[in-house]
């Protein structure tokens, strides 16, 4: 039985999610919640099985859908990088599902939350597995609409406007991306990454195609100048939704950029692109941290912290461009990807615990939360641990990525990127420890904290501790990343 399932694993995982999503649509809240929880559990098992296989056979798993093969049909390829991202999605997704089970009162207005959420999860899985740029367009659309649906589900004024802003910018991004796909198809005639890697040539059409694709995706990843839609969307959404948005959705489009830049050898195709993204990343770090520091509302602050942390991800492109041998390029790339994973865990925990805190305190404003650590110790403690990973202090995952960034910056000689990383860490410390100091301080009037059930206090703690664990035992993840990134960069370096 197992060996029958094993070759079909990717398809089965996707099918499970799609089935669960449509089933959740048909049934009432309680049953939908049950379906979601079951789907989450199954998903974690299947994805870890896939990861184990990818690690075991240490090769890229190509799954041809419809049996037609690359030029004609669509393939699902799962290599080390996509396996890691899927694992992140599964872990964060499972915790978010458990959290939402405890978070939502079973009233009717949230009945469709579960199906939207499962569709989003399916979209993410399809996105990380897909190897076809047009198929990625469809996955991006699936992702966008489910994300916007989740943002707008609470129905409050701010959420609706945030949703509107989000969908307009996301659709614009997708269409720019589609135009890019059209141009690339026009010039190369293929849509599959592996074929593209062999057939792509530097001519104006492909260059423009790549440029459009990258701009579209940058808009969806909310890199600095184009981050206007992210803070309102992430801050005004319901807690589990903002956690998913910050931790996973944003990483999806980043993952595609990463693959595109490697398949198209972006830094040779468009000379200044990698450095431009690096500069925008640095601006994002500085601007995001400064904004986060001045915010008056907790979730808005955490949202701006996402804007800043996204800046970190894009530092890997200039470093890869600057790398002269494969080793340093792999080091830089794995730094970025590891940061994506550790940020995913930490930010997910931070938003979930922010949700718990807001629910307990009753208001989102920071000054109402003074002296929280005395009354709600676990959420405060979770926020602190997640904050530590955000700042990149040693026991946490953030530190590992900071370390990798700095060593690759030094090895490639482009030391100013290391400076940006270190300064970014200090800036992050500014707003994180401002909040922690607030929690430890003593507020003006005594703070009454509503009773919050155990689930929504423990779930974020688990996620936060996980971000600490990968700080210490991060090597397996790096071993998973290295071969995959190496094969990608090898192609690029030829």
């Amino acid at each position: 039985m197992l060996d029958l399932i094993q070759p079909q694993l990717p398809a089965i995982t996707l099918a499970v999610l799609l089935f669960a999503a449509s089933a959740a649509f048909l049934v009432r809240f309680e049953r939908a919640r049950a379906i979601a929880l079951v789907a989450a559990g199954v998903q974690v098992v299947l994805v870890s099985w896939i990861t184990w296989i990818v690690v075991g056979q240490d090769r890229v798993w190509v799954y041809t859908i419809g049996g037609w093969g690359a030029p004609l049909g669509i393939d699902l390829t799962i290599d080390g990088v996509s396996a890691v991202m899927m694992l992140l999605t599964a872990v964060v997704g499972c915790v978010v599902t458990v959290y939402s089970a405890g978070y939502f009162p079973p009233k009717d207005s949230y009945r469709l939350f579960w199906s939207l959420w499962l569709f989003l999860w399916a979209a993410l899985f399809a996105l990380f597995a897909s190897n076809d740029i047009f198929n990625l367009y469809v996955c991006l659309e699936l992702l966008t609409i489910s994300a916007v649906g989740l943002v707008a589900i609470s129905g409050e004024r701010a959420a609706l406007f945030a949703g509107m802003r989000y969908i307009l910018s996301a659709l614009a991004g997708s269409l720019i991306y589609l135009f890019g796909v059209a141009l690339v198809y026009a010039s190369t005639g293929v849509l599959d990454f592996d074929l593209l890697a062999t057939q792509v040539s530097i001519d104006p059409t492909t260059q423009a195609g790549l440029a459009l694709m990258v701009i579209g995706l940058l808009l969806k990843t909310a890199l600095f100048p184009m981050h206007f839609w992210l803070p309102p969307a992430h801050a005004n959404a319901v807690a589990p939704v903002s956690a998913v948005l910050s931790a996973l959705v944003v990483k999806g489009s980043f993952y595609i950029i990463f693959k595109l830049m490697h398949v198209f050898t972006g830094h040779e195709m468009i000379p200044g692109l990698a450095e431009l993204m690096g500069i925008l990343g640095v601006c994002a770090i500085i601007w995001g941290s400064v904004q986060a520091f001045t915010q008056k509302r907790l979730k808005m602050m955490v949202a701006y912290s996402t804007v800043a942390q996204i800046g970190y991800l894009f530092l890997l492109f200039p470093l890869v461009a600057a790398a002269d041998d494969i080793q340093t390029a792999v080091l830089a790339a794995s730094a970025g990807l590891f940061h994506a994973v550790s940020h995913g865990l930490a930010k997910g925990a931070m938003f979930l615990t922010a949700g718990t805190i807001v629910k307990a305190v009753g208001s989102d404003r920071l000054e109402d939360m003074a002296g929280l650590s005395r009354l709600a110790p676990i959420p405060a403690f979770t926020f602190a641990i997640a904050g530590v990973s955000m700042v990149g202090l040693p026991p946490s995952g953030g530190f590992v990525s900071k370390w990798l960034y700095v060593s690759s910056a030094i090895e490639t000689g482009a030391w100013w990127w290391a400076g940006a990383v270190v300064v970014g860490g200090l800036l992050a410390a500014l707003y994180i420890f401002k909040v922690i100091a607030l929690f430890m301080g003593s507020g003006k009037e005594p703070l009454q904290v509503g009773v919050s059930n155990r689930v929504i206090t423990i779930a974020p703690l688990v996620l936060a501790l996980m971000s600490l664990v990968i700080g210490v035992f991060g090597q397996p993840i790096l071993d998973l990343l290295y071969p995959a990134v190496e094969s990608l960069t090898a192609g690029m370096m030829r």
Partner: protein, 1011 residues
Amino acid sequence: MSLLQLALMIAVSAPWVSAIIIFCLGETRHRTRFVIGLMGSAVTTSAVGYLGYHLAQGGAGTSLGIPLLGFTFGLTVDRLGVIFALLAATLWLVTTFYATGYMSHLKDKARFFGFFAICVGSAIGIALSSNLLSLFIFYEALTLATYPLVAHKGSQAAIKGGRTYLAYALTGGAVLLVGVVWLHALGGGAFVASGSIPVGLLDTHSTQLTAIFAMLIAGFGVKAALFPAHGWLPAAMVAPAPVSALLHAVAVVKAGVFGIARVILDVFGIEAASALGVLDPLALLAGFTIIYASVKALKQDDIKKRLAYSTIGQLSYMVLGLAIGTPIAIAAALAHLVHHALLKITMFFTAGVLAEEVKITRVSEMDGVGRRMPLTMLAFSLAALGIIGIPPIAGFVSKWGLGLGALEGGQVWPLAVLAASSVLNAVYLLPMIGRAWFGTPKPEWMNRPEQGSKRFEGSRLLVLPLLLTAGLGSLIGPLSFMEVSPTRWASAITGASSAMTVPWRSAPFLLDATGTLFLILACVVWLVSAFSAWHVEGQHRWRFRIFLLMAACGSIGLAVAHDPAMFYTFYAMMALSAYGLIAHSDRAPQGGAGRVYMTYTVLGEALLLAALLIGSLGTDSFTATLVDSPWRDLGIGLLLAAFGIKIGAIGVHAWMPSAYDSAASGVGAALAGVASSAGIIGLIRFLPGGAVDFPGWGSIVISAGLVAALFGALIGSTQARTRRVLAYSSMSQFGIMTVGIGAGLANSQVWPVAVSAVGIYLVHHGFAKAALFGADEIVLHSNTKRWALPVIALAGLALAGMPLTSGAIAKLALKESLGGLPGQWKTFLDVMLPLTAIGTTLLMARVLQLSWRVDPKQRGRSATPSAVAVASLAVLAFFTGMLLWVMPDPAVQKAVEKALGLYGVLDLMLPFVIGVSVFVAALVFVRQRAKSGPLANLCIPDPFIRATEYVDTALIIHRPKAAESGREPKNRRPLPSLDRTNIAESYLLTWPVASTLIAGLLLLVLVLTLL
């Protein structure tokens, strides 16, 4: 997984596990939390203890770890790591008791103890980590875990303190990260015995390596509170006392120093570091920090802030030791790591108890607190003395090692820094002890609480740990020769010979000629003064008796101690306990005389320490090493200065008159007779007279002696109070003795003769001065004036050198010793010596006149030494010369024969006659001129005393002004500029602007495609 690896694993993980359990326990379960804390610390201590035991048995170290980032994030067992881990673990055990007592009424105990355990866990992690990366990981974990403790109280000040702490620590961490990564990129970073820098790298990448070294030191320097980055330590004093005690005295700050040690010893290695030339600037920085921190400590009125600055200074001792780089210096630095931890943790515990029990947080409020909590303050005093470097307590051992290490490395300036900082330490620590014991306590402290819960000392939980650490701190010093002592353990690390690092030699005691003489003098005089001083009343009499006994024991030990360190120990004990006698009596102005005496003594101690250090490098005797050491002249100069202060040489004698005047009755004799003459014994024993001629030094000493003699006589004879006259007379007598020593220095053949002559003179003067003081005592306080006058006359004649008296013999012996001097000196001295004799007779006449005129109504029932005892002293003084006949010394015998001859008698009588006639003439002249004026206005003011008083008032000024009113820190709105970015951001958020940006970026990237 051998047993050793298991122990290593337990040692590091036990604190973390107990922290997690404590966190889960929640706030209310006090008892279980205490038990968990205790168990955790006990398990950790035993595990680390086993590691230590294993290493002590010579077992090989081991290591284990998990791969991370191309490194192994792992632990290792080596001597350097285990010493720090053991320190952190044991002190955690002690602090758990203290913290439970201290935190009894504070909130958030679960959070407190949890993070406390994590802090210690990361400190032990730092100690045992196997390479720079794992050390860095634990280092930053320590920063994180300490923040909630600093900001524990949650008050505005606590949060502000926490913020400052974080600002410093995080920037330091960031710099350290870059350094560590850069080093890792170049291939270094692992801890290998003699440095892990790849061999070829030194010359190719020297600039990079220097930059890396600077970054690593800057990163660790933040926690080690080196100069520019020390600001956070005083600010972090807002933390509760257990935090300041364990973390800011031991775990956190020592982690920084430990990091620097690892960088210098195991990452770069001494040779590479000195080849790079980075150690000297570090040493200079450390030296500057020591001085800067000590000066700043003076100004702090808040106890904990003053201790914080003292810690900054002491930390830089260790960094200085490491930077000097010689094996002895590094061993001393590592030993100081342990010594300072024990001493400073005691002081912080005391600060905590004071704050808790009697609500004292300022030094100015500490008056008389010794009465209220004698045990606690005793521990505090021991620790403070240790920090100052008074032997035999631990601090002295490491200071001694540092000094020797510096000399071994061929540098002298660290000695100056050590001396200066010892003085400064004394100036800011001794007043605290002085206030505690000699200040007037608050009334409510005085009466022992018969009933009610308020025990006299702090609660047991608070005081016991205090006493334990104080005891340990003071025991480690003297026991440093033991194998397991930190000094020996540290010297095993650096391969320094333990003979050098442990100050006290194996056979320190030896009785030589001068020694025996001084011993007789000391025993007799202390017996007499103890007898008369014993029944001193007043509520401080036990304190007085203790000081008396300590002074006596000090002077006796001094006589027999031959090894420089042992001599210094007893010398310090005698000098310091003499303060107790001077400052005790209520007659003296509020501690004025005492403070002046103490300032001079402390200065003398520091100079003596430097001098003794110069001579004790290497194994053979002090004088031999001093003679052929490159800093011979510096050594001799320092010796002369140090002992000069003791014997009241010209210029540094200002303390003598006021000290003798205010000395408690009966004790004056001992002070004048024995304590001061210790200086002469020191000079005789340590000056390298016999081997080489020092014409230069000889002439300086002789002239100084002569000036002192004449000056003393001139000023003394015009003084209004008998004791002041006696003070000046001993100044002049010591002047004469220095002349003899000078002669010995100038001509090495003369040295033995001079030494024995001075010896005789010393004993004779001792007895005479003791008799005079005793007699003055009787004159002042008892109605049997009739007895006292002949005694005074007898002693006076002896001093004046009448024939057949010991004075005569001593003078003749001295004249003999001067015989060997070169021509022009001989004639000059023949003229000057009689002059000094005239001076002495003048002084004695003055004493006689003053005691004659004193009207008996001042008599009080206070201690009156029995007339018989004093009389016997006078007789002894008179005839010692004769008694010495039995001495086989040829010079003495020749002198005695001459004294008996007619010509000799005449020669001796002449100065006496002139002296008396001059005195009578002066008396008549004065009476005519000032029919009415009292005699006092004739008194010539002593310029030096004016100078000292001026300096003293300056010192007073240094006394911390009333702390400037802590103005409410205006709560700083976030930086105004940040608000403007807020507006810019909201503008950026609007759709049209944002979408135009999208179009703009699209255009930009497309343009890029054109390039």
